[in-house]
Amino acid sequence: MPRKPVRKPIRKKSARGRTRRRSSAQRGNKRRYFFAVGLLLLALLAAYLGYLNYLINSRFDGGAWALPSRVYARALELYPGSDLTRKHLVYELELSSYLRVDTPPLPGEYRLLGASLEFHSRAFEFTDQAQAARQLQVFFDDGHILALTDSTTSADLAVFRVPPLILGSYYPQSGQDRLLLAESEVPERLVAALIAVEDRSFYQHSGVSPFAILRALWANLKAGKTVQGGSTLTQQLAKNMFLTPERSLPRKINEAFMALLLELRFSKQAIITAYINEVFLLQQNRIAIHGFARASRMLFNRGVDRLAPEQLALLVGMVKGPSRYNPLTAPEAALERRNLVLKIMQQQGLLDMTAYESARAKALGVARKLPGVNPFPAYLDMAKQQLQSSYSDAELSRQGLRVFTAFDPLVQQNLERGLARGLQRFKQPELQAAVVMTDYLNGDILALVGDRVTDYPGFNRALMAQRQIGSLIKPLLLYTLLQGDLSLASLVTDQPIRIRQSNGDVWEPRNYDRKLHGKMSLYEAFIRSYNLPFIALGVEQGGLEALALSLEKIKLLKHEVVYPSMLLGTTAMSAFEVAQMFQVIANNGYFTPLTTIRSVTDQQNRTLARIPLESHKLFDQARMIQVQRAMVGVGEQGTARYLAQRFGEQTLAGKTGTTNDARDSWFAGFSERLLSVVWLGRDDNAPIGLTGSSGALRVWADIMELQGFEPFKLSRDDSLVWRHIDALTGGISQQGCANSVLLPIPKDRIPKTRARCQ
């Protein structure tokens, strides 16, 4: 009989053993599981830390910050004989943030001494060489520099360059502006004050301070709200540089890890320097001012190395709440905070009691208004346009390039004031303006305005507004006509003309005054800006094709097909392009490309680009001199005779331009060295009721009066002789006769007829 199977103890035993084995296996599994999970977690942590490390590398190591490119004005040259008044030098120095003092000036300061001015220039890295800081005294005499001496050695100097001011910056997309300090440039007392106020255990902790966290926790519990933060400076840096300002646990964890990594990777000095460069301190319109160096310049107009204790305390105090303690919008809170910082500095032994009391008694002493963000937008825009063939937007706004331009702040000031004064005459709020001022001998664009509100950074009309130029085309047309048998004395007829165009239409141009004026010299027709003789000559003598060729030479031919109405100036140009056209006329036919840029360097002052002075002889000098003489006549007796009324015998050359229904009012003119173009009109192209003579010319004169100028003189040319010519008949006349004008005539084209003296 089979036995009922019974559970054998061994089985029981073995089951127990199995259980034991199983639990041991389970434990092993668990261990393996935990080990695997642990490994995975470690891998994840490593990956996470690797990612954080990557973030730190990408920002902290090289190119930590997107640095705006700085655009510099021209360097003011001081030399005996220069037409510079003390008032102008003061203006230039103040724009460059020099402080007026009564004691011997330190770098960045100046003082007035009798009729002279003493200043201490800052050290500066020019493109070509470094220039050390230097103390100089400038003596003036009747609107000129009389002498220039080195205050230290008393030696006379022949010439000295004042380091140029920054006229603006190209900011990154983030809208952040900062000046970077190197580790060696960070003042020790700034570091000490910052540590005393924000993180006293900075040199002891490794990025995170548990003690500080507990202390903050306790303080917050006691107060029932957040009154103290436990973040170290390193954590704050991690948050500012890499994280968002949100208050969440993951963010805090990220912050702590990053702080630890930062401390592992970098020295304390590198971390504090980064903090000083990174921290947000001020908002100025759309630009966020980061870092102590820039904020110090903005608020106190001086570098961080030159801050008084109360100024330094204010900046350190602002770290806690840039908006809450903004000295411009919340001066009382800012003062209270500053005094608290001063107290801490005194308690921590950074200030003795006397210095503390003295600093505490001081007013905030900040600038009443922050200096404008890019107060010369049109010039900055023009420079950017010219740079964009070589540099991308990203390069310009991130790489901290140094762009050296031809911008002249003294000329810009006169241009802006003259324009404001000129526009007041017309009482037309819709009237817009564009002005370009250049040195036509070397191609420098000295000053520029692209809007009647000169600091408005909108549409830059000087560069972008393409408008018909009207009679501004006539000087170049006159040049082309003079290459045939014609001279300024040639007799022309102002009579009706009908031109059949290629499409069969008949074009019947008219004079602006819609009258006919009969016979006269070419000179007379030019200065009165009569259209019909020029159209007739242009069509009959191949002037149209020659004009197109001339425009092509200076890269201003806008149409593939030339048409007769071009002779009336229907070609559209910007004020800048007009300036280029007149540059070649004023400069005896030598074409020099107008430019804002002179050189570009990187942050380390390695030259990236130089724009050399160019000069190309594209036109005949003798003929250009005749054109210039006719343009002088415009200002003496022609459509711009207002110039003679206003400036007497100070010779100026120019040309008015008016388009149909007086939609555009132009004037382009030049003195011995300056060429300026003024355009007035409306953006909707509506009539403005102003001719070139009644509009732009007046503004031009207002600008030139403020600017001051040397009268224009024509160059000598052996192929020309000067004769008194009767402007009405073109015959030889005498000095003193009515209608007699002194004109340059090619030797082989001297008129044979004699005019009756009247």
């Binding site: 360059r161 010779t651 003189k713």
Partner: protein, 136 residues
């Protein structure tokens, strides 16, 4: 009765008139007093006022040329030209640099410009002529 012949006889007057006309023909017509034209005096007074600055910069440029530092020399000369744009020597030195760099087209352009300001000064005209030969 002797006939006294007046020295103012018609024939003599005619001869005198002819002589006078011929004399007038042979004398070149004088240039009128010309306030529009830049005189040599204008140029020299302008040059005198700023001479020290321009000469120093030109000398610095020449020193830089001797050390083959052409960009630096160009900077000096551009500064000199900014101060006194119609100085024929500054343009000549620029031409010289371009010749040394093998930029002959630029060299010729600068010589042209220098010549236009030379006021027929033989020293600068000769220097330009010699350099022009090299650049062509």
């Amino acid at each position: 009765m002797p006939v006294t012949r007046s020295i103012f006889s018609f024939g003599r007057l005619a001869i005198l008139a002819l002589v006078a006309i011929c004399a007038a023909c042979s004398v070149p017509e004088q240039e009128p007093d010309n306030r529009y034209q830049r005189s040599i005096e204008d140029a020299s007074s302008e040059a005198e006022a700023v001479a020290a600055a321009v000469i120093q910069l030109q000398n610095q440029a020449l020193a830089a040329i001797n050390e083959d530092q052409y960009p630096l020399a160009i900077d000096y000369l551009q500064r000199a030209i900014k101060i006194q744009p119609r100085n024929a020597w500054s343009w000549h030195y620029l031409a010289d640099i371009y010749w040394r760099r093998g930029e002959y087209e630029h060299c010729l352009s600068m010589i042209e410009r220098s010549h236009s300001y030379s006021q027929n000064d033989p020293a600068v005209d000769d220097a330009n002529a010699a350099l022009r030969d090299q650049c062509q």
